[in-house]
Each structure stands twice: as structure tokens, then as C-alpha cells.
């Protein structure tokens, strides 16, 4: 201890304190402040950059998943559309078929009716013609029969016989 005290140099202590304080203030102004500030700023920058990168990554992921969802949706929709189109096609075909059937049926019935009408007309005509023919024959027959007097009376007689007076 005594040696330490005897070794102690006031001058050295004075200069050491003075020089150290000078160094401290100079370094503070020209070295530590700019360095620490720059380092802090840089660290903050790096942190922010990392954060934003993470955010962007998440966003991208979200986008990707929504993309695939969109694709799936589109695919589903296409499928749906195709199905619908097919169904519609079938429907249209079926409808057309039934319509055609109906039309055909209508044509058939009207044809039948016409045939019926024509037929009855023909029968009527035939009837009249047959009656005409009968008249003509009867005329001829009558003309022939009336020429003979006996025959006439026979005929009237037979006719009178045939008619019952009831």
C-alpha cells in the first residue's frame, strides 16, 4: 500500500484524467453518437425489412391459395355449365321429339277425319247414284210394263196385295 502511494504520480493522474475526458468528449461527438445512431437505424431498417418481407410472403401465400381456389371455382363452374348444357340439349331434343309426335298425331287425326268425311261423302254420292240408277231401271221397267195392259193390272194387283192396310 505504501509502495502504491509512493508510486502515485499526481502529474500522471492529472494528465490521464484530462486526456481521458478530452478523448471521451471527442469520441462521443465524432464516433460514438454517429456510430450508435447509424447502427440503431440500420438495425431498425433490417427489422422492418424482415417484417415487411414476412408480410409479403404471407400475402403471396394468401394470394396463391386464393388463386387455386379461384381455379377450382372456375373448374367447377365450367363443369356445371357443361352439365347444364347437356341437360338442356337433352331437354330440347326430347321436346322436339314430343312436338313432332304431336304434330304427326294431329296430321294423322285430321287425315283420318278427312278420310271419314270423304268416305261418307262418297257413300252419299254412291247412294244417290244408286238411287238414280234404280230410278232409271225402274223407269225403264215401268215404261216397258205399262205398255202392256194386263201386265199393269197384275202389277197393281200384286202391289196391292203386298201392302197391308193395318
Amino acid at each position: 500500500m505504501e509502495k502504491l502511494i509512493s508510486e502515485f504520480s499526481v502529474g500522471l493522474f492529472f494528465w490521464q484524467t484530462l486526456l481521458f475526458l478530452a478523448l471521451l468528449f471527442l469520441l462521443r461527438k465524432y464516433a460514438w453518437k454517429p456510430t450508435l445512431m447509424a447502427v440503431n437505424r440500420r438495425e431498425k431498417g433490417i427489422e422492418e425489412a424482415l417484417e415487411s418481407a414476412e408480410l409479403a410472403r404471407k400475402e403471396l401465400k394468401k394470394l396463391q391459395s386464393s388463386n387455386s381456389e379461384l381455379i377450382q371455382e372456375a373448374r367447377d363452374e365450367r363443369e356445371q355449365l357443361l352439365k347444364e348444357a347437356k341437360a338442356m340439349k337433352n331437354e330440347i331434343i326430347a321436346e322436339a321429339k314430343t312436338k313432332a309426335q304431336e304434330e304427326a298425331n294431329k296430321v294423322l287425326t285430321s287425315a283420318r277425319e278427312e278420310i271419314k268425311i270423304e268416305k261418307s261423302k262418297a257413300i252419299e254420292e254412291l247412294k244417290t247414284q244408286v238411287a238414280d240408277f234404280s230410278f232409271q231401271i225402274a223407269e225403264k221397267l215401268l215404261a216397258e210394263k205399262l205398255s202392256d195392259k194386263d201386265k199393269q193390272s197384275d202389277t197393281v194387283k200384286s202391289a196391292l196385295n203386298e201392302i197391308n192396310f193395318n
Binding site: E7, S9, F13, L19, L26, W32, P34, T35
Partner: protein, 372 residues
């Protein structure tokens, strides 16, 4: 001296750049240490007790501060290779002159009618003949003026401070151009980050650490750099001076007390959580602790650096005591090894000083909810 240099140039073909630097640094220190300059003389004399006394004197001389910057001495011609430093005395007025006036302590310097002599690195006021008077205990009784000389240590502190300032200013300026350090900043920025992330924040806490960063950084860099200069062959021993470590520890002490908050003082004078008799017993102990903490800082740094220098110099000294190449080789290896250890110690002591300083600051600014 030169043969040693030649022999030891081979081992550092290591690819690692850093290792290379360390090796060349230590080798440089070994080869050009002013102490080794005495080798020629030692071998010729062959008188081991003489060499021992000389080594001891040299070590003691080295550990002390000096008034001139001694590089080496040519023993055969007795020429000292050194450069003088200014002497500043306060002796009823300011007296400034160059240390060359003392002629390495061999002559008495006369300034404005007063005579001064250099005796064991202390300046005493003497008569014209330079008589030094002793009392019964071999203490010098001559009056000594207040010595504010730019001694070797002060000079070293100045040079190292300038180097530190230029280096770290370059780091600070570098950020004006880009956010990423360039050049020397690539090496220096990790140091700043180390002090912030490993020393300041863990010990002081996120909330208060910023206020102390300038001091912690300066103390750390200063002690480390000045310790490293102690490993150069220039034979500088700044942190092995008690005045220097005292100045540093005193600053830590003052800052700690000034920033001490209520909880800190309460912890000292009225320890919470213990019974009243214990509180009374603990108060003086805690109060003593306030002084002991910076005192330990001062002694630790001083003792570690002094011891390192003594051990290294003694080992180098042993190289000249043994006249046997095997022993010399072994001691050279040991010296090399210890030099590398000292390189680590230089850093470690700077780290410990800064770490403990930060810890004391942490105690001072501690708030109640953070503890117990």
C-alpha cells in the same frame, strides 16, 4: 538479436491472417524489446549476478514512468537512444524545460536559478551539485516540486488517444456514406456492438444503458489499446501505473454515485428485506463496499498489467542468464506463449473493467420492481 529474428520467421506461415498478425506482433515485441539490446553485453560479461541485478533494475525501471522516451541503450558505448519529453514543474511558478537537460538523470538541471535532479524517476529540488539527502529509512528528504511533466506514460496516452480518435472517427464518418461499415470500420464496429450487446445492455438494462455508452466505450477502447501498446517493444507501461488506474476507477466511482437512485441508496443505508439489527450492521459494510468496488477495479487492472510485464520481462531476462541453447529455446517458447496470453489479458482486463463498471452503473440505476 538478428539471428533470433531469422530463426523465428518460419513458424508463421499460417494461413490465418489474424494469427499471423498476432505472431508477428509478439515476435516483434520479443526481438526488438529494449531489454534484448543488452544481450551482447551479458554474454561478454558472463557474470550472472551482475546480469541478475541488471535485469531486476531494468524491470523495476520499466515498470515506472519515465521522463524521457527511452528506446534502447548501446551498452558497449554507453549511448542511450531516446528522445526527450517536456518537463513541467510547479515550484512557486511554472517551469517548463526538456528532459534532455537531465542527460538521463546524470546531470542536474538548472532552471531560473533552481536546481533539479532526477532520482529514480522522481524530480527533486537539489543544490547545484545535485545532492540527494536521505533520512534514516532511506527516504529522500529533498523537496520535490509538483510534477506535471509529459512523461513517457502521458506521451503514450496522448499518442494512443490520437490513434483511437482517428480510428473511431473514421468509423463514425463512414456512416455518412453508407449504412454498412467500410475499411477499418469493419473491424471496429463489432467492438462497439460487443460493448453495447455484451456489456452495457445485460448489466444496465435496455432502459438506461444509452446514457453510459460513451463512457463504457471509451473506457473499453482506451484500456484495451493502451494495454496493447504495453506489449509493443517500446516498453510502454501505462495501465501498470496506479495513477492511471486510479483516474479511471475514480471516474467510474463518480459516475456511479451521481447516477445512484433512491433504491441504490436505500440498499446501502437501509437494506430492504432484512431485520432492523441487520440493517444497522449492513449499512457500514455496504458503505465500505461503495469504496471497495472501484478500489478493486483500480488494483485489478494495475496488478494484472504490472504482473504481466514483470513475468514477461523476467522470462526474457532468463534468456540471458542461461548460457545453454536448449534452455534459451525453451524460455523463448515460454515467452512467446506468455506473450500471447498477455495479448488475451490485455483484452480481458479491458473487458472486466468495462463489465464491472457497467455492473456498478446497473446497481446505481436499478429500480425496485426489477429486483427481489
Amino acid at each position: 538479436m538478428c539471428t533470433l529474428a531469422a530463426n523465428f520467421k518460419t513458424p508463421y506461415s499460417s494461413r490465418s491472417m489474424r494469427l499471423k498478425i498476432v505472431f508477428s506482433f509478439v515476435l516483434f515485441a520479443l526481438i526488438f524489446n529494449p531489454f534484448t539490446a543488452k544481450s551482447e553485453h551479458g554474454q561478454e560479461a558472463g557474470d550472472s549476478t551482475d546480469i541478475r541485478a541488471e535485469i531486476k533494475a531494468d524491470i523495476l525501471h520499466h515498470l515506472q514512468d519515465a521522463h524521457d522516451f527511452h528506446l534502447f541503450t548501446d551498452e558497449t558505448t554507453g549511448t542511450h537512444y531516446s528522445f526527450p519529453l517536456p518537463i513541467i514543474l510547479w515550484d512557486g511558478g511554472l517551469k517548463v524545460f526538456m528532459s534532455s537537460k537531465f542527460h538521463h538523470g546524470e546531470e542536474v538541471a538548472e532552471v531560473d536559478g533552481s536546481f533539479y535532479a532526477l532520482h529514480h524517476n522522481h524530480i527533486y529540488k537539489t543544490d547545484a551539485e545535485g545532492t540527494i539527502n536521505y533520512d534514516d529509512n532511506d527516504h529522500v528528504t529533498n523537496a520535490h516540486p509538483l510534477d506535471f511533466s509529459i512523461t513517457k506514460s502521458v506521451f503514450s496516452v496522448m499518442i494512443v488517444s490520437i490513434i483511437i480518435f482517428l480510428l473511431f472517427k473514421a468509423l463514425g464518418d463512414g456512416y455518412k456514406k453508407s449504412a454498412v461499415p467500410r475499411g477499418v470500420g469493419k473491424f471496429l464496429e463489432p467492438l462497439v456492438l460487443f460493448v453495447r450487446d455484451e456489456i452495457a445492455i445485460p448489466n444496465i438494462g435496455e432502459k438506461h444503458y444509452q446514457r453510459y455508452m460513451s463512457y463504457l466505450l471509451t473506457v473499453f477502447v482506451f484500456i484495451w489499446f493502451i494495454n496493447l501498446t504495453g506489449l509493443t517493444p517500446l516498453g510502454i507501461n501505462v495501465t501498470g501505473n496506479i495513477a492511471v488506474t486510479f483516474a479511471l476507477a475514480l471516474m467510474t466511482f463518480i459516475i456511479t454515485q451521481v447516477s445512484g437512485k433512491g433504491y441504490y441508496w436505500k440498499h446501502i443505508f437501509w437494506m430492504p428485506g432484512v431485520p432492523v439489527p441487520m440493517k444497522i450492521i449492513l449499512a457500514p459494510i455496504e458503505l465500505l463496499g461503495v469504496i471497495i468496488k472501484p478500489f478493486a477495479l483500480m488494483i485489478r487492472l494495475y496488478a494484472n498489467i504490472s504482473a504481466g510485464h514483470i513475468v514477461l520481462m523476467s522470462l526474457i531476462g532468463l534468456l540471458f542468464i542461461f548460457n545453454n541453447w536448449f534452455a534459451r529455446g525453451a524460455f523463448l517458447g515460454l515467452t512467446l506463449f506468455l506473450s500471447i496470453i498477455e495479448l488475451l489479458v490485455a483484452f480481458l482486463q479491458a473487458y472486466i473493467f468495462t463489465m464491472l463498471t457497467a455492473l456498478y452503473f446497473g446497481f446505481a440505476v436499478e429500480e425496485h420492481d426489477e429486483h427481489h
